[in-house]
């Protein structure tokens, strides 16, 4: 009796998904759908939050007041994105504190790109243009994801992201129109961030464990490789226009496919960085743990104040 009901519910659920009807928080959903979403949305939230660290590193050293105001606004947006996504995760029945503790214990990951350091100002350009560019590719696709709160958060995030990429590209353009040293700095940032940006889309489809089920549930609407290809196709002309070279000797336009062919990704590096051995993994988590621990008394004091003034 019990199993039959579960089967019926699962059938109804899949029928809703197939009809593109959104799933809302209190609707029945399979346990694995819930778990997959918790993992994916919280990972996404953590990426927004940890992603503030490499850029925050340059706020005090931005080269002009204009650049500083822009970078501050961008980093503030990322904090907002993290909050929308933590809220969306909470609608699935997990507590925010547990979600954050899972980041700190290493149980749940964030995008591996944020484990690379920001060595020069040009890195801020490369991040805005390439990293936010890659994130946008992914997020635009997720605006149609099947879980309502996640899809709504994505719509709002996508609206805010568009200036992020532009400000990065503007930094790169300015540097490429500058002195020889500035052009070298921009190219160096490009060389360091290009491949990690391609890795942001995750393992190739053949290796991706979750893709098939996630596509069936319409959590994902495009595969990792499809999105990666769109990103390469969009980025190459942008690089060429301002005179940046793509650090890939195998990159070339394939007339028959109507896409760029590109070289093999160093997946060994990807798994090393995901596994905790990137240049900044330790530093990033330490910064997050410190923020939580040092804010503890503030959160407690605010709660005590609220209780005292309630009556």
């Amino acid at each position: 009796m019990e199993t039959l009901t579960q089967e019926k519910l699962a059938e109804k659920f899949q029928a809703k998904i197939d009809a593109d009807i959104k799933i809302e928080p209190n609707d029945w959903m399979p346990d694995t759908y819930r778990k997959t979403l918790i993992r994916q949305i919280s990972q996404h939230a953590h990426s927004e939050i940890v992603g503030m660290l490499p850029e925050g590193n340059w706020i005090t050293r931005a080269p002009s007041l204009r650049r500083k105001a822009v970078l501050l606004a961008k980093v503030q947006d990322e904090a907002g994105h993290g909050l929308y996504l933590y809220s969306a995760t909470e609608t699935l029945g997990v507590s925010r504190e547990d979600t954050i503790d899972d980041l700190h214990s290493g149980k749940v990951k964030y995008s591996s790109i944020f484990n690379y350091p920001t060595l020069t100002w040009a890195d801020i350009g490369a991040i805005g243009w390439l990293v936010d560019g890659a994130a946008i590719m992914n997020q635009v696709a997720l605006c149609r994801t099947s879980y309502g709160p996640y899809a709504r958060a994505m719509v709002k995030i996508c609206k805010e992201e568009s200036f992020h990429q532009r400000q990065g590209y503007e930094i790169m353009t300015t540097l490429m129109n500058g002195t020889e040293a500035q052009r070298e700095m921009a190219q160096d940032a490009m060389n360091r961030f290009w491949w990690p940006s391609l890795m942001m889309f995750g393992p190739s489809d053949a290796e991706s464990k979750h893709t098939e089920q996630s596509m069936r549930w319409r959590i994902k609407r495009h595969t990792n490789d499809e999105l990666r290809q769109s990103f390469v196709d969009a980025s190459v002309p942008q690089a060429e226009l301002i005179g940046l070279k793509i650090p890939d000797p195998n990159l070339k336009w394939n007339e028959a496919r109507g896409h760029y062919d590109f070289g093999a990704i160093d997946w060994e590096e990807f798994w090393q960085v995901v596994g905790g051995n990137g240049p900044c993994n330790k530093e990033r988590i330490e910064a997050r743990v410190k923020a939580k621990e040092e804010g503890e008394w503030v959160r407690e004091a605010a709660m005590a104040y609220a209780k005292k003034h309630k009556s």
């Binding site: 209190n26 503030q76 929308y84 809220s87 507590s95 504190e97 959160r299 104040y305 003034h309």
Partner: protein, 95 residues
């Protein structure tokens, strides 16, 4: 630990004069004043609103989606509540 977590609030925003407040999301805050301030920072960074309501999520009573078919069926079957139910003689274009 989790007992120390700030309560959850739902945020409603009036985007411009003449429109209803609309649910835009949620956030955590220690009290109503902080919830309002956070809502402004989180949900109106690009002039999305001219007025904000915050309500503690725990105070909201919601209908159960599992019952929604039975719950809303009575209004589905009352087609005579819609103007298209009625026959009009030829010659009447607008009513």
């Amino acid at each position: 630990m989790s007992t120390n977590e700030w309560p959850l609030w739902e945020v409603f925003i009036r985007s411009k004069q003449g429109l209803n407040h609309k649910h835009v999301g949620s956030l955590r805050a220690a009290d109503a004043e902080m919830a309002l301030q956070n809502a402004r920072d989180v949900y109106t960074r690009r002039s999305e609103g001219i007025s904000i309501w915050v309500v503690q999520s725990a105070l909201i009573t919601a209908s159960d989606p599992a019952d929604s078919e039975a719950y809303f069926e009575p209004s589905d079957s009352k087609v005579y509540r819609h103007p298209t139910f009625y026959d009009l003689p030829d010659g009447i274009e607008h009513m």
